[in-house]
């Protein structure tokens, strides 16, 4: 058994243009792709179908080979020992959640429209997903309001999620994760929202990728912090020196 510190790098980055499922049947693949296209639709910008989110999800739940990219994004970590055992159990649960959830989607489509989900127009598909989710279709977020929420949980995982919240989370992940995992083709998801992310994971390890231009260049500590004028124990700086200027 080897420590997490010694896990080897295997495989290569996922090819987003692959049409070969590792886990899904052809029909499941097409259904996931169609659902993803309703979760993040294509409009004047690309959506989840264009970003190849289906490839991302298929690889993720195919086994434990595509869980953690290596730090530099050249491939994937070979999970070992007790962690392999735990991830196998987790993925096996997700496979079941997807297999059963996709059947439910087709059953709801059949009972309402006498067709499979993939054969419906997008409006009918949305009606089916509203029924599957058990909640109204989410409405637009508007300015000019205050909307209280309670207790926010920081730890985000998909353990124990039912089908609908799981696929919504996974589509978001596939649209916005580093392209090594198969989705977010050509950083398509990032471009839609204006995120200037790194070209590669390696670029985040060596100083190549920088967000220094997103800081404030035009500032003076004495103006931002007026009380500095009243203290004399320590020197009062004008600006921070260093890498961010």
């Amino acid at each position: 058994m080897s420590s997490k510190a010694d896990w080897k790098t295997i495989l290569e980055p996922v090819n987003p243009d692959s049409n070969e499922p590792l886990f899904f049947t052809k029909h499941e693949w097409d259904t996931v792709e169609a659902i993803a296209a309703r979760i993040i639709p294509t409009d004047y910008d690309p959506g989840a179908k264009d970003a190849k989110v289906v490839v991302f999800i298929d690889r993720y739940i195919s086994g434990i080979s595509y869980i953690f990219a290596s730090a530099d994004g050249s491939g994937f970590l070979e999970i070992d020992g007790k962690h392999a055992h735990s991830w196998r159990a987790r993925i096996s649960d997700l496979q079941k959640v997807y297999r059963e959830g996709l059947q439910v989607v087709d059953q709801v489509s059949a009972s309402n429209y006498s067709k499979q989900f993939v054969a419906l127009d997008s409006e009918s598909q949305d009606e089916v997903l509203v029924k599957v989710s058990g909640q109204p279709k989410p409405g637009a977020v508007n300015l000019g309001t205050t909307e209280p929420a309670t207790t926010f949980f920081q730890f985000v995982s998909d353990d124990g999620l039912p089908f609908w919240p799981a696929i919504c989370l996974h589509v978001k992940q596939g649209f916005y994760a580093d392209p090594v995992y198969g989705g977010n083709k050509n950083h398509m998801g990032w471009k839609v929202i204006g995120f200037d992310g790194p070209e590669s994971l390696k670029d985040t390890m060596d100083g190549t990728y920088t967000t220094a231009d997103k800081f404030t260049g035009d500032y003076n500590w004495g103006e931002l912090i007026p009380v500095l004028a009243n203290q004399s124990d320590f020197p009062v700086p004008v600006k921070s020196e260093g890498l961010y200027n």
Partner: protein, 556 residues
């Protein structure tokens, strides 16, 4: 089970090599003592294992304990059966929480050490004074700031108590959203300043802080910017030649000898072999949840309820803070982007709402700070539409037009809020997991409400056109801050540890993490913990292991 040769006894064995274990390792090995450090997790290397991969670090929990292997359970009352819940799952690896943390390291205030003297009995709470005061800790706060690496501007926080030295590094420049915070605070007469940060922006102690990626909170830092004990104190301890680190070593029991002193610990190594490491002193630094769990698991005929637990207080009076906040959205069509996702998590903050003002309807107060809204998958956006055009539109509109102002809730200790051993749920080794029993105090709820509403006011002054306040419902453990499960005090009937974090019952057992904190403070606790671990390690090296004793007078 494999059998291995029993290792030679040492002066000190440290269990858990995070912020505090790393501090103890440095101080004790530099004092010439032979020290072994046991860490249950791996020893990841920052330049080899860390990069800006949101999915891996934030969603798939690469660095965090796997909640299938090492679950925790939570219940909200005595009558419930606790459910598995990843409560306060602080990373368990060499460096501990200093691997993933944002790194807020404000100093505590004088009032934090004397809440009971200031407020007397508060209904439902178990307030206690600390057995020492700010002035006892100040020299050690300064040592940690300089040796570990903290950036800040001395004199910028007008409420800060006496400090003997400025900071070794300047802070980062303000982010765009940080600038909004400063400007709003200045309009409102609030003293905003750069929250002291466990990172350097210069070459302090030979560091190369090249990371400008904004992949910060919950990510490991591949550069030398972040102060992490795995890249600072632990290598310094190893360089003395007196410190040996064993990772993937799970300690399951502290062993007690016939004389009532600890003889050492039993751990299970990577190959499943059980090994006993004897030592003159045993130090626990696993964090207040796991240190309490280990003490409760260490049952013997002398300590049937767990080692060092004659008071029955091990695990009780647990406090966890809670991160509460409000989000503000700007108008993409009118306002400049604030890039809420950029920065090293925090920018400006204030301590103006920290001290008690009873007109607010509660005692105590919290640190407040502007901070990142984080990356695309996990944007901090309560009420983010789950799917459809609304999701796409809101992501596109608000990703670069959002900011957040948050606070660390100063929760009050209550004896019934506690850590104990779950009677049903076991970890992958078959050992009982930590069960959390926790219900928020009315003071916690009132404080959260007032402070979040204040954050909304600041956001509105900053020009936000929509706000989302997040109030306290129940504790989720979202800060990873843990305290109180072996509180310090002078009276062995009312406390587990004395003023040196030394067990009243077992004189060679010390618990040098947040377990000893009688009250939680309203600041991020790590600087206070590390300074206290340094202070107590000094005592172990200069007094205890030299056969001497020194006691503090109860402060007036």
């Amino acid at each position: 089970m494999t059998s291995k040769i029993k290792p030679a006894p040492v002066d000190v064995v440290i269990v858990g090599l995070g912020a505090n274990g790393g501090t103890a390792a440095k101080v004790l090995s530099e004092a010439g003592l032979k020290v072994v450090g046991l860490e249950r997790g791996p020893w990841l290397k920052n330049d080899k294992h860390y990069s800006g991969d949101e999915l891996k670090f934030v969603n798939r929990n690469y660095m965090w304990p796997d909640s299938k292997l090492t679950p925790r359970t939570v219940r909200r009352s005595e009558t419930e059966v606790a459910e598995p819940y990843p409560f306060s799952m602080t990373p368990q690896l060499v460096g501990g929480g200093t691997n993933h943390w944002a790194g807020w390291v404000p100093r505590p205030r004088e009032s934090d050490f004397m809440l009971r003297s200031l407020h007397g009995d508060v209904d439902g709470a178990s307030l206690a004074d600390w057995p020492f005061r700010y002035e006892h800790l100040e020299p050690y706060l300064t040592k940690v700031e300089w040796e570990f690496g903290v950036s800040g501007i001395a004199g910028a926080d007008k409420t800060e108590p006496f400090r003997s030295k400025p900071y070794p590094s300047m802070p980062l420049p303000p982010t765009r959203w940080g600038k909004k915070f400063y400007d709003a605070c200045n309009k409102m007469g609030i003293n905003a300043f750069p929250i002291p940060h466990a990172s350097v922006t210069n070459g302090h102690k030979g560091r190369n802080p090249f990371n400008r990626t904004s992949f910060w909170n919950q990510y490991g830092d591949p550069s030398g910017a972040r102060s992490n004990t795995a890249t600072t104190f632990i290598p310094e301890a190893i360089a003395t030649g007196n410190f040996e680190l064993r990772s993937e070593a799970f300690v399951r029991e502290v062993v007690v000898g016939k004389d009532g002193k600890a003889t050492g610990v039993i751990y299970v190594d990577e190959d499943g072999a059980e090994i006993q490491q004897d030592a003159k002193v045993v130090i626990l630094t696993l964090g207040a949840i796991e240190s309490a769990r280990l003490m409760l698991m260490s049952k013997s005929s002398k300590f049937p309820e767990g080692i060092a637990n004659s008071s029955g207080l091990v695990g009780k009076n647990a406090t966890f803070h809670e991160y509460l906040f409000a989000i503000g959205f700007f108008d993409k069509d009118i306002d400049d982007p604030v890039y809420g996702w950029a920065g090293n998590y925090i920018s400006g903050g204030t301590m103006d709402f920290y001290e008690t003002d009873e007109s607010r309807g509660y005692i105590g107060g919290s640190i407040t700070a502007a901070s990142q809204t984080c990356h695309p998958i996990n944007m901090v956006f309560p009420g983010r539409p789950l799917w459809g055009q609304a999701l796409k539109d809101s992501d596109r509109t608000f990703f670069s037009h959002a900011m957040k102002i948050g606070l660390i809730l100063h929760d009050l200790p209550q004896e019934a809020n506690r850590v104990d051993l779950d009677p049903n749920v076991k970890d992958y080794m078959g050992l009982p997991v930590a069960r959390i029993t926790h219900k928020a105090h009315a003071n916690d709820v009132a404080m959260g409400k007032w402070q979040v509403d204040k954050n909304v006011e600041i956001l509105e002054m900053a020009g936000a056109r929509k706000t989302i306040p997040v109030y306290l419902d129940q504790m989720t453990g979202n800060t990873c801050h843990q305290h109180g499960t072996a509180r310090m005090g002078f009276d062995p009937a009312k406390s587990v540890l004395n003023e040196w974090c030394q067990s009243h019952d077992v004189e060679n057992l010390f618990v040098l993490d947040g377990s000893g904190f009688p009250t939680a403070t309203g600041v991020n606790p790590t600087l206070t913990m590390m300074a206290n671990a340094w202070r107590c390690s000094d005592y172990i090296a200069s007094y205890y292991l030299k056969g001497r004793e020194m006691r503090l007078e109860p402060p007036k």
